[in-house]
């Protein structure tokens, strides 16, 4: 009898939680399914997830892009931006995190306060002078305004790595110091290998943020051949006369694919990263 109500409760639970989960991911499934539907079918029975036949031509027509620039170029641009800024952000943040977590120096408290403030500062306050500055440097219409600032440490990553460094027993540093290691070799030989999980988490989040970034490319890039994928997708909306819905759905789906793949491979790091530091996904 008790087993009966228990399993009944469990079925109810899975119906409720599973049903709600399905509602949550239905739009994403719909996007992917629509990318495989013939153009006239996408809005005919919009609710449906099942195409009458699989239409891969959407991927071909979408990939062909706009005025001779294909999505091969857009993906290449995205990867250039993402890889360079991620390398810069993770490497510089690790140095800064070690400095704040393990070295006592004059003015540390003040600069750490500045770091925390930067984390909460709205982007809108700094964006206009930054634009003016990059314009004066002649950096407009290049990747530099998007990539270079990443090399000056990301406060969120510094914060995340500091929390990891604090879990390393200070005795380890002391022992290395006894053996004649300088702060630099302690950082490279002792600390860096031990904070690998934090480095991985930061890499993943940097990848996400830069991949999704729309504002900076919109501001600084004006030639389609320099567009990353996020900005190129906007072109589908601008080209009002064409209405290549299938191609738009196909490329939108494709642009999400790297994010979803990385998510399923590194799920553990992502969940831990968010739960321990409140990083926003």
């Amino acid at each position: 009898m008790t087993f009966g109500t228990k399993s009944k409760n469990s079925v109810l639970y899975h119906l409720l939680v599973g049903g709600l989960a399905l509602v949550m991911i239905y739009p994403i499934l719909w996007l992917a399914a629509s990318s495989l539907k013939p153009n006239h079918e996408i809005f005919a029975n919009a609710y449906s997830l099942i195409p009458s036949r699989l239409e891969f031509s959407n991927y071909v027509s979408g990939w062909n892009g706009f005025a001779g620039t294909t999505f091969a170029t857009f993906f290449k641009n995205s990867f250039i931006i993402v890889i360079w800024s991620t390398v810069g952000a993770v490497a510089s943040s690790a140095l800064v995190a070690y400095g704040f977590a393990r070295i006592r120096f004059k003015g540390k408290g003040f600069w750490f306060g500045c770091l925390m403030m930067t984390m909460m500062l709205p982007h809108d306050v700094t964006v206009i002078p930054q634009y003016v500055m990059f314009a004066k440097l002649g950096w407009l219409s290049s990747f530099k305004p998007i990539i270079v600032p990443s090399f000056f440490a990301m406060p969120f990553f510094v914060f995340l790595m500091m929390q990891f460094i604090r879990t390393i027993p200070p005795e380890l540093d002391e022992a290395a110091k006894m053996d004649g290691c300088s702060k630099f070799s302690i950082f490279f030989r002792v600390v860096l290998p031990l904070i690998t999980p934090a480095l991985v988490t930061s890499t993943i989040f940097s990848f996400y943020w830069k991949w999704d970034d729309f504002y900076n490319p919109l501001l600084y890039l004006n030639k389609p051949e320099m567009y990353p994928v996020s900005l190129a997708l906007k072109l589908f909306l601008d080209a009002e006369s064409v209405n290549n819905w299938g191609g738009m759905f196909a490329m939108a789906t494709l642009s999400l694919l790297p994010i979803v793949i990385v998510f399923f491979i590194f799920q553990k790091y992502i969940v831990e990263g968010i739960s321990t530091s409140g990083l926003k996904g």
């Binding site: 639970y13 919009a46 510089s92 120096f105 709205p122 306050v125 700094t126 996904g281």
Partner: protein
């Protein structure tokens, strides 16, 4: 010898390690903030040099710009509807998922996925099609007998609510933070309460909420700040215009239009400072009220 000395000087070594942040802060944060404050008192059209106009920009904002009032209304509606709804959903689902049964990992991923991809252009484009005149919502409504071809995005009364729905849909990252917090509450607290005859609702208000309140405060502040800065979905859904009838003209979008479509850098800088002050005041207000509802556990060892 001197090199050895320098290497052992912690003050110097500390500054070398933190140099990337300190330089970046001075170049990309502090200097821009000061310039932005200066620009806000000038008439600056990018091509010409800034011309001092005193408080003119601020006076214009509050007396002669109808769009800014509209934009503030839209933004406040967006923030004060989406943030509480998002946090409520996050807490509710986190409590549902705080169980040790099979399949939880799968559910957790399903609820988190929208939050992961939600900020992308692809999802914003998807949203325009879902709420479009012949989109997913209208097609599903037709199934239950409600025939309509009104676009939810094109209709002034509902346009903003599609943006709010998009924001609430991304409750996943807050949910993960709540889930981690719930796991830290010892089961013995609930057992003790139930021995004393407390019901589930009573336990929720007397145990769960107080113990989660520091995490709720953190989430509330971070989500409020990021909601004020929302740009991409409003830009994509309204094709950069903020329409229909300025109903999706979020403050960031309006600022972008003023600064980078009309190149009124001075006026847009003044807008940025008004926003900074507003966000600062709201954050301060949340902190001030927190002493009435945030419960900090007294722990000797922390």
């Amino acid at each position: 010898m001197t090199w050895q000395k320098l290497k052992d000087n912690d003050h110097l070594v500390g500054y070398i390690f933190t140099a990337p942040f300190i330089l970046g802060f001075l170049i990309f944060t502090l200097y821009p903030m000061i310039s932005s404050l200066y620009y806000s008192f000038t008439d600056y059209m990018l091509m010409d040099s800034p011309r001092w106009v005193g408080l003119d920009n601020y006076v214009t904002m509050f007396t002669a710009d109808d769009k800014i009032i509209k934009s503030l209304q839209v933004t406040f509606t967006y923030v004060f509807a989406s943030v509480p709804l998002r946090l409520c959903f996050a807490l509710l689902v986190a409590m549902l998922l705080n169980k040790a049964i099979g399949g939880i990992g799968l559910y957790r991923s399903a609820y988190y996925l929208p939050s992961l991809i939600g900020g992308s252009v692809a999802v914003s484009i998807m949203w325009t099609q879902i709420f479009g005149d012949r989109g997913l919502i209208n097609s599903a409504l037709a199934l239950i007998g409600i025939e309509t071809t009104t676009s939810w995005i094109g209709y002034p009364g509902t346009a903003l609510w599609t943006l709010i729905a998009l924001s609430v849909w991304q409750f996943g990252s807050s949910m993960l933070i709540f889930l981690a917090g719930l796991k830290n509450i010892p089961a013995s607290y609930y057992e003790a309460a139930s021995v004393d005859g407390a019901g589930k609702v009573y336990s929720f208000f007397k145990i769960t909420l107080p113990l989660l309140s520091p995490i709720i405060l953190f989430n509330l502040i971070m989500q409020t700040i990021s909601a004020f800065m929302t740009f991409t979905p409003a830009y994509i859904i309204s094709r950069g215009e903020g329409g229909p009838l300025d109903n999706t003209l979020l403050y960031s979008l309006y600022l972008y239009r003023r600064a980078f479509q009309f190149f009124e850098m001075g006026y847009a800088s003044a807008m940025a400072w008004v926003m900074l002050i507003l966000i600062g005041l709201i954050t301060l207000l949340i902190f001030q009220t927190s002493k009435y509802w945030v419960h900090y556990e007294a722990k000797g060892d922390k």
